[in-house]
């Protein structure tokens, strides 16, 4: 996408995208307003987003569904691949679009409180005010998108070919097939930057649980070094494909099953790297401070494209929570240590005995 040095008119008119004039980039929404804000406006077109799944793969799948749902609503084309679950079931469970925020942040409670000490801060909201959406929509996780909406949009479901015979570039031919199929989709849908079409659209590629044990070749009885090499090569080739097209790929990877050095190279080949660290099953699950949240959201990498400076938010720690109707990412604020139980056990300050005297000053 970046081969287009100046963004032309046909490019600027793509629905569901927003140009970033400063960097000459086109941004599209991830489907989650808080994630768009965190990544500097959205995902740049032509980029690869790498998501390290939480161990149960609950939340990474939700991120992927949001990304794909936004594509369907914006009229983009979709390419979905998975070997762990059926691609059909992922598409059928996409959240339905809404015209308003299903669960807005209720910060009124905080404002109504009469502040006795820090009264100057009374008028400040306790949480960040939601900005108006420039791109993207709100979604309701409790409702599924109507089937006819999905059927009327351009969705390609990838399935494993049984009679594959390709060049032995990859040790597992599935990776080769997947890459070829994405390449074919780019060509047939005229998503390439060199194609001249009247009305451009975007291809959203969603790859679920790439590199999981389901991606191992049948001929391998155990984990070999080639399997890891395949993942690195695939990520690099995917980067090459995305860069040459009006497309964005979101890849979720079960990183806890793969060696760290392989993940590091995958992160290097991607433009955005996100790590979801769920509290479920860890000792953090019972931590009262983190009780409102479901896990840490780490933005490992945010590449500087067309610029020197990355829009990485810095050393702020983020957490995610899954509400009934929506998934949101927030800054982690530790609450002040006012705990009733803590108050009771506080030792008396200063010297002297605890016994009360009749005469006290």
């Amino acid at each position: 996408m970046e081969d287009n040095v100046k963004l032309s008119k046909t490019v600027l008119n793509i629905p569901g995208t927003k140009p970033n004039i400063q960097n000459g980039q086109l941004l599209l929404s991830s489907g989650i307003p808080s994630l768009d804000e965190l990544t500097g406006g959205g995902f740049p077109v032509g980029s690869v987003v790498f998501i390290e799944e939480d161990e149960q793969c609950t939340y990474a799948k939700i991120l992927l569904k949001y990304f794909l749902a936004e594509g369907v609503v914006s009229g983009h084309s979709t390419f979905i691949a998975s070997q762990d679950t059926s691609t059909n079931s992922i598409m059928q469970e996409l959240p339905d679009v809404m015209s308003f925020d299903p669960e807005p942040d209720l910060d009124k409670i905080g404002n109504d409180m009469e502040m006795k000490i820090a009264f100057r801060y009374r008028n400040l909201s306790t949480s960040e005010k939601p900005k108006e959406l420039q791109i993207g929509h709100f979604y309701d996780l409790t409702r599924f998108m109507p089937r006819n909406t999905i059927e009327s949009s351009d969705v390609t479901y990838w399935s494993k070919r049984n009679d594959t015979y390709g060049p032995d570039t990859f040790s597992n031919s599935d990776y080769h097939c997947l890459l070829e199929d994405i390449k074919n989709k780019i060509q047939s849908g005229h998503f390439s930057v060199t194609d001249k079409v009247q009305q451009r659209s975007i291809l959203r590629v969603g790859l679920h649980a790439l590199g999981s044990p389901m991606w191992f070749d049948e001929s391998f009885t155990e984990l070999t070094i080639n399997q890891h090499r395949d993942l690195n090569m695939f990520m690099f080739c995917l980067r090459a494909l995305m860069r040459s097209a009006f497309a964005v790929a979101v890849v979720t990877v079960p990183s806890h099953l793969i060696r760290k050095n392989v993940i590091d190279r995958c992160i290097y080949s991607s433009d955005l790297a996100i790590k979801l660290q769920s509290f479920t099953g860890t000792e953090l699950e019972n931590n009262s401070v983190l009780a409102d949240y479901h896990g840490y959201f780490q933005l490992t990498k945010l590449a500087a494209i067309n610029s020197f400076i990355s829009k990485h938010p810095g050393s702020v720690e983020y957490v995610y929570k899954l509400r009934r109707k929506k998934f949101c990412i927030e800054k982690l604020h530790l609450p002040p240590g006012f705990d009733e139980s803590a108050n009771k056990s506080l030792p008396s300050a200063g010297c002297g005995s605890n016994t009360k005297h009749l005469l006290e000053f």
Binding site: M1, E2, G46, T169, S315
Partner: protein, 249 residues
């Protein structure tokens, strides 16, 4: 160059014929490459750029911020590119996806030497730079280390011609990358290491640049360590510990 703190800090000497840039962890060395390109263009040098990590548009956009027009240089014959990244995406029978891994580096080197010879033709008194950004992606393509080190060897032999200089970028993520990086360090006249801060992320400092000239006899040029901060249009460098001073200047 005087207004550019990074180039002043790097203080490129005519003897720095083989420059290697090492990218540690999550740091980004692209600013070093683009600033070196700016210097080469302002010295009327020619560049053969091997693009493996970014795209041509990226270099054009970043160099525009530094006051250089890459596309114009490209049209005037001062720059030429080899784009394996584009080739992989557009060419169905790309050499870079060949199962013969030796052929990948062989064909790449043949393309490089061909382009460099064309740049040298009719250009009598100037330096031609070969810039490879980034070499470590060859490991992603499954190329064995022995072939990569042979490739480095061939490139260095190119620099036997005094009018050819090399700038090679290398990312370090795993042990294979470390071997390539050490190999490059061994042959380089100037080694530039870019790392993130060990302590995490800071608002005032983006990372650390370590500059080493292993073969230099001048003590002042041998080693230096700097902190840097990336801005939208420039990179500011300063001695470790001076960052607060730069904030309030």
């Amino acid at each position: 160059m005087e207004g550019n703190p990074l180039l002043t800090a790097l203080n490129i000497q005519p003897s720095d014929r083989i420059i290697s840039v090492h990218e540690n962890g999550l740091s980004d060395t692209n600013f070093i490459i683009t600033n070196l390109m700016k210097k080469i263009f302002s010295d009327n040098g020619k560049i053969c750029l091997v693009i493996v990590h970014h795209t041509l548009g990226h270099y054009h956009n970043v160099l525009k911020r530094l006051g250089q027009d890459f596309m114009e240089k490209f049209r005037n014959g001062f720059a030429t590119t080899i784009e394996p990244l584009k080739d992989i995406a557009t060419n169905t029978n790309s050499n870079f996806l060949s199962s013969d891994k030796e052929w990948i580096v062989k064909s790449l080197f043949l393309a490089i030497s061909d382009k460099i010879n064309k740049l040298l033709d009719g250009y009598d008194d100037g330096q031609v730079y070969l810039i490879i950004d980034d070499l470590s992606h060859l490991t992603d393509l499954g190329v064995d280390i022995k072939f990569i080190s042979a490739f480095i060897n061939y490139c260095i032999n190119l620099a036997q011609n005094e009018r050819i200089s090399l700038v090679i970028n290398c990312h370090i993520a795993d042990s294979n990358d470390n071997i390539i990086s050490n190999c490059l360090r061994y042959v380089s006249n100037l080694v530039i290491d870019v790392s993130p801060l060990k302590t995490g992320i800071s608002h005032e400092v983006t990372g650390v640049i370590a500059i080493t000239r292993p073969h230099s006899t001048e003590l002042l040029l041998r080693n230096s360590t700097l902190h840097y901060k990336a801005y939208d249009r420039e990179i500011k460098t300063f001695a470790p510990g001076e960052s607060i001073y730069h904030l309030y200047k």
